[in-house]
Subunit: 395 residues, 2 copies
């Protein structure tokens, strides 16, 4: 009964038809993506929930999925509203892997969720670019109250990737150095903030660019100790300068989302027995390293994939991770950590929201117009001209 009262109390959720961004087959997003309108969901089956999406990010990996260039594949669906007249002429994929939703109706036997709860998805490729979906209770996770909508919508992939890479591979102690590339990525920014909070030092690398000075300032403000560009790795004097800033033994952990030559060059700052964890390969180059690093310097190369982490961990463990991230107070300025814990507790704030733009898909717009809006953003992201996180908001 609570469910229906809730719906009545939120007429906007019930009044509009639902919309989703879908594609019938893999290909270039600008060619295959369309928008589709579908009726309100029927009541959810047992152990399931109906949710209304609040914000649904477009992550770079989502584009790779549509292009069929990603490791995990979505499952096509015949309908977006089971038990209604809605059905596709042929099965379609629904875009999106990550998203923040609100529970709008609860099926029989569901435990631990109620109408109004904010939830995120831990099942990969569940199709979050939609107004409303019916989800199995095992595929969602309640969001701690501490999170803003934007933080919650982007909490399932990047911050846990950063957190787990900093906690699962090497036993790091305050003062230890962590090296990373792609330091301005969403994961990279979370790494800087979490590492800084733990008293770790970070040596960060980014691509050179016109606004490099402001980028460096922005990363320093998150808590980065050192920021250099890949170009700096070709300059002997700068390399010496970097070496003089790091401890004698070097870093015991390196995080890689780039691969290719710069990554190889960065290994010169590693300690013997260091671990290099890869979670991406933005250069589209292989991870190519001298074999001697493994034999004589005892290097260990591993990988991390948050999706696998979710698959390997229980609901309780997933909830614990969310709560840990929610309670992770991050100083807005790395220096505060060193000064006094009082300053820290006063100034402390949560993980910063990623720089983002909310793309409202108007309820009054046509499916064609909405599809065009999404295709344009994706086209910008493909061209590398979109530095922010794009968040879809279905009106």
């Amino acid at each position: 009964m609570l469910a229906s009262i809730r719906i009545l109390a939120k007429p906007s959720a019930a009044r509009h038809a639902n919309r989703a961004i879908v594609y019938p087959s893999f290909g270039n997003p600008s060619e295959v993506l369309t928008a589709v309108t579908y009726p309100d969901l029927s009541s959810p089956p047992p152990k399931s929930l109906n949710v209304r999406y609040i914000l649904s990010p477009i992550n770079p990996a989502d584009i790779n999925v549509i292009e069929n260039k990603y490791h995990s594949k979505p499952s096509p669906v015949k309908t977006l509203a089971e038990g209604t007249v809605h059905a596709f002429s042929e099965p379609h994929f629904v875009g999106g892997n990550e998203g923040l939703a609100e529970v709008i109706e609860v099926g029989k036997g569901v435990e631990g969720y109620k109408v109004g709860d904010r939830v995120v998805l831990t099942k990969q490729q569940s199709g979050t670019w939609a107004s409303a979906r019916t989800l199995h209770e095992d595929d969602v996770l309640k969001v701690p109250e501490e999170f803003s909508d934007v933080n919650a919508a982007t909490i399932t992939v990047n911050p846990p990737t950063a957190y787990n890479m900093l906690h699962s591979f090497v036993n790091l102690r305050p003062g230890d150095l962590v090296i990373q590339n792609g330091a301005n990525s969403a994961v990279g920014q979370a790494v800087i903030q979490i590492a800084s909070r733990r008293g770790l030092r970070t040596l960060n690398f980014v691509r050179n660019r016109n606004d490099i000075i402001s980028l460096k300032e922005s990363l320093h403000s998150l808590g980065a100790d050192h920021v250099y560009t890949y170009d700096d790795l070709k300059n002997k004097e700068t390399v010496q300068q970097i070496k003089s800033t790091i401890t004698h033994k070097g870093a015991s952990l390196m995080l890689n989302c780039v691969s290719g030559d710069p990554t190889k060059d960065m290994t010169r700052f590693l300690a013997e027995g260091a671990t290099l964890v890869s979670y991406g390969a933005m250069s589209k180059q292989p991870l190519s390293l001298p074999t001697s690093l493994f034999i004589f310097r005892d290097l260990v190369c591993r990988g991390f994939w948050q999706t696998k982490w979710y698959a390997d961990h229980s609901r309780e463990e997933r909830e614990d991770l969310m709560q840990t991230l929610a309670e992770l107070k991050v100083s807005s300025c790395a220096d505060d950590v060193d000064k006094t814990t009082d300053v820290l507790s006063n100034d402390a704030q949560q993980l910063q929201e990623p720089e983002h733009e909310i793309l409202t898909l108007k309820g009054a717009a046509s499916d064609q117009e909405v599809a065009q809006q999404v295709r344009e953003i994706i086209s910008k992201m493909q061209g590398g001209r979109y530095g922010k996180k794009a968040l879809l908001k279905f009106e």
Copy 2:
């Protein structure tokens, strides 16, 4: 007293002057290597031993050391016979890392060694290309009786590398598959024999060559289950054939001494979560792998260096390893393992001696002639035209 009696009983050891293969500076062996004659050793200082070398291998890494292209560096010496008139005009390096020697005199306070004991070296780059040396007791290891002289002279590097790689990284069970390249190397042959004895299956890769059929037969006779060439990796049908011979899940351990493209191609036969252990890079190419293998297939890349193993383990642990290798009965034919353990225990034999040639450096030859002999063998090894293990025997 025992020492002098022993020397008297072996007049050949005392009668001849000693000789060593030395070099004053790093460079091309054919240019820097010379032979030098030196007097009999003085009595060893406390905690030290005088030894007479029985057999001293020339390993490929020894050539890299002379070229200054190897990770570990030898220490130059001012004399080969401390306390005598012998001295170099400038400090020289003595070639050789591995060798079998006989104790000819024991210094004060030495425990666990007596005249006549056969010993091998566990200290890297100690200079084994010599008739006789004075060594610290911590740098030698007694050789189990079971070993022939040839096996003992080649026991400190390759067989323990094979044994440790098969035992230290992955918990393997009978029937499990191990993949390796450079399968005809000394380590590769030891891997085949030890794996076969443990009931593991091996998928072996070698370079294509004119006598590939006889090479395959020879590896099969050691216990290899499958032998293919790197060329086969480029042939889709053969790759399918290989896939049909391995288990559904693939191999959990891969051993690499080649790197470069063939190594990358071999990873397609790996199970999820597999470990790739590198101990060499004969192609002189980097280890270059798709980053996705680490992220989505949970690949772990590591390295192994027996020299580090010795440095990290106690004398007792080193002796245990030697004894383990000595007691490792290896079936001469892999099929025997499957048939009956009775057949195995009857037919079982130790690790096969590596294919080798003993190069006797005649006592009557001049230093120039001896140096020329060694340079010629090394030149053949550099040209890849020397398929056997060369063992120096100082007459």
